[in-house]
Symmetry: C2
Subunit: 413 residues, 2 copies
């Protein structure tokens, strides 16, 4: 008998039919002899409907009251799924975040989980009951309702799995696993049976939006076995999805590169002719951070003539704002020569824990891109990933070239 | 400085505009120096929408889960009203039933309030904050969410007023008070400035659906000053509505009759030729009660030849079911001669505490009906009311005749 935590998102809860589908799936896991805890999101569209209602009252709703309201979305779906499960003949009971209780800090609309009280759940599980928990929500020490912010239901599921020491945390989505890259760009993309937390983090932060980063970090920290799989597969045709594990593969020959990630929403800015003296990077990036703009890749060229060029990338949506800050505030302040920008760039990355022990991955990557005539604008590396910034028009070509160069279209031996 | 509890129903919460109207009204009470606690219902239509959603999952949703779901309706409106109030510059904070906490028994979908913890509210009130409480809901000793059943928001308001020892409990509705009778039938009907709890109970149970009976009983029991008034009156044009008080009027000349109530939804059944022996009434009414059918007026004629006729009224919706039980189960069992029924009848009642000290009210009533040629089918009396059952076609005529006969169209001196 295993203890399984399952999480179903908004599309899986989107209609009464879909909810009954989920109930039948949960029923199968239960009747196979498992203890099951289910975490659900609000019906797709419901959170936005509630937000619009709040905005119709006031443009700046108080965050505490927003959380009181938004949290009703999951409160409806836990009850609906409990009813649907009871209808299949299984004992089921719903829990709001406050009822669990999922204790959080008091940062409304983006609270962080502090602890989970598993006592009540444990009693119900031992009483043969399926537990259905509202994702995305909690309660602070004063009894105020809080929500966890975007992707919060994944985080709830992982936190519950950690608290209950579950055997597995299954995240059901509308895709059947994590792929070597986006199959819409590379039809030969292959579903991965396994991926490490570190690789998943790099894949997620680079735009493969299967799982929210916070939940992956959480799972890694508490060593929760996480599995991504599809809630749309028919009975009898289910596939095991992708397992995200803390241990690296024990196989002799592990793949060097697990996947090719990419991000289209990037823009690049360069401060030219910066005086090459200590503290210049923080003088440039300080005002950017104060304006709440996230900076991704950062490059400082080797200086000559006492000046240097300083480049970085930001989300494309922040491009105009960033350019203005650089041009009006930073350029005169530090005495730079000019500001140059390009918002038609993208980032392509090769990710894999295997590269730690395999030198030469970078040069293999650059060669593959050169063979396609793709000019590299920026390079950034970490322990388990190499990213290049290239012109946006090369995105698909670069992804396909790298996917083939690292043999990702072939199943591992 | 007074402590006021106000309750706003679903139509008052029906649209963002209406919610902002309510916020402005509450703001006026607050800035006049009062402490204000507001109880709200769900937006009109929302509870039915949620019920339909539950029914789309299963025809028999589990009551516990139904309450989890239905209670979200008020959770949304408390947040919206809190936001709207904050927008008017007043400190406001929402409370769900569980947050208050409104402790109830565990009878889901029709729980009863056991106690209210006023400590948190008291602290917020002293901190100059308007408190907005979700009506209709509570929490049981195990932390389960419960709802109070129909009219539950009125009950919540009265219970809060009792717990907080409020100076007044104001029930805002879409009418501006309690009338001597339905103005749609008698245009001369007059709004009453005051009415006693006992009169209000008789008026309410007889079909004047301004207030729910339970809340009036509750208010009477805990001596809460209750006022019915309109949430649709413009600023500067508000009227004081109708005050429902525990004390009878101290005026020398109090009106004998306060109002004429009526109920159209009645049906009459007669068991003819019943053996006139002890225990026969319970043999007839026992199976009716077991079938969950409410019986209203009950009459047993004087017997002759060792048999008697036994008549009673039920809700018209229960007529067919009741007839079947009488005909198939009770008639053969007790050896009655025949079952007779009439579902085209109605009940008209004169209500007033003054009749206690004024003999002759009944004969005045019967005379007024006789003068219009209205045949009385059944009569039932209590301390402060006289009811007659008449053919439904006479309803309006009877109400008008009695309203005039007791001088209700004239303002008291």
């Amino acid at each position: 008998m295993a203890l399984i935590v399952q999480k179903y998102g908004g599309t899986s809860m989107g209609t009464p039919e879909r909810i009954r589908d989920v109930a039948r799936r949960v029923n199968r896991w239960k009747t196979q002899g498992n203890q099951v805890v289910v975490v659900v999101s609000a019906m797709s569209g419901e959170t936005n409907r509630l937000l619009a209602l709040a905005k119709s009252i006031t443009p700046n709703p108080h965050p505490r009251e927003l959380d009181v309201m938004i949290s009703t979305g999951e409160q409806v779906t836990i009850a609906l799924l409990a009813m649907a499960l009871q209808d299949t003949g299984v004992k089921a009971k719903s829990y709001t975040g406050a009822q669990v209780k999922v204790l959080t800090d008091s940062v409304f609309t983006k609270a962080r989980i502090l602890s989970i009280d598993e006592e009540n759940m444990r009693r119900d599980l031992d009483n043969d009951t399926v537990i259905i928990v509202a994702g995305f929500q909690g309660v602070d020490e004063f009894g105020n309702i809080t929500t966890l912010g975007r992707g919060g239901s994944d985080t709830t599921a992982v936190a519950l799995a950690a608290a209950l020491k579950a055997d597995e945390c299954q995240i059901y989505t509308d895709v059947d696993g994590v792929y070597t890259t986006d199959p819409r760009i590379v039809p030969e993309a292959r579903k991965l049976d396994r991926i490490t937390f570190e690789e998943m983090l790099e894949m997620a932060s680079l735009g493969s939006k299967v799982l929210q980063i916070r939940s992956v970090e959480f799972a890694g920290k508490y060593k929760v076995k996480l599995r991504v799989l599809s809630s749309f597969e028919e009975e009898g045709k289910e596939t095991p999805g992708t397992l995200i594990t803390v241990e690296e593969d024990n196989q002799m020959e592990q793949p060097i590169i697990s996947g090719i990630a990419f991000n289209r929403d990037e823009a690049k800015l360069t401060v030219q002719g910066v005086p090459d003296r200590p503290g210049i990077a923080s003088q440039i990036l300080g005002p950017i951070a104060e304006a709440n703009i996230d900076v991704d890749v950062i490059i400082q060229n080797v200086g000559h003539d006492g000046t240097t060029d300083f480049s970085f990338t930001v989300n494309r949506g922040d491009y105009d704002r960033t350019f203005k800050i650089l041009d009006e505030k930073i350029k005169p302040h530090i005495g730079a020569r000019a500001i140059e920008g390009d918002n038609k760039i993208c980032k392509v990355s090769a990710v894999g824990v295997g590269m730690r022990s395999h030198p030469g991955v970078a040069s293999q990557m650059f060669r593959a891109l050169a063979e396609e005539g793709i000019n590299i604008r920026m390079i950034s590396t970490s322990e388990i990933k190499i990213s290049v910034v290239v012109d946006e028009k090369y995105l698909e070509l670069a992804v396909r070239a790298l996917h083939q160069a690292f043999g990702l279209d072939k199943a591992p031996d």
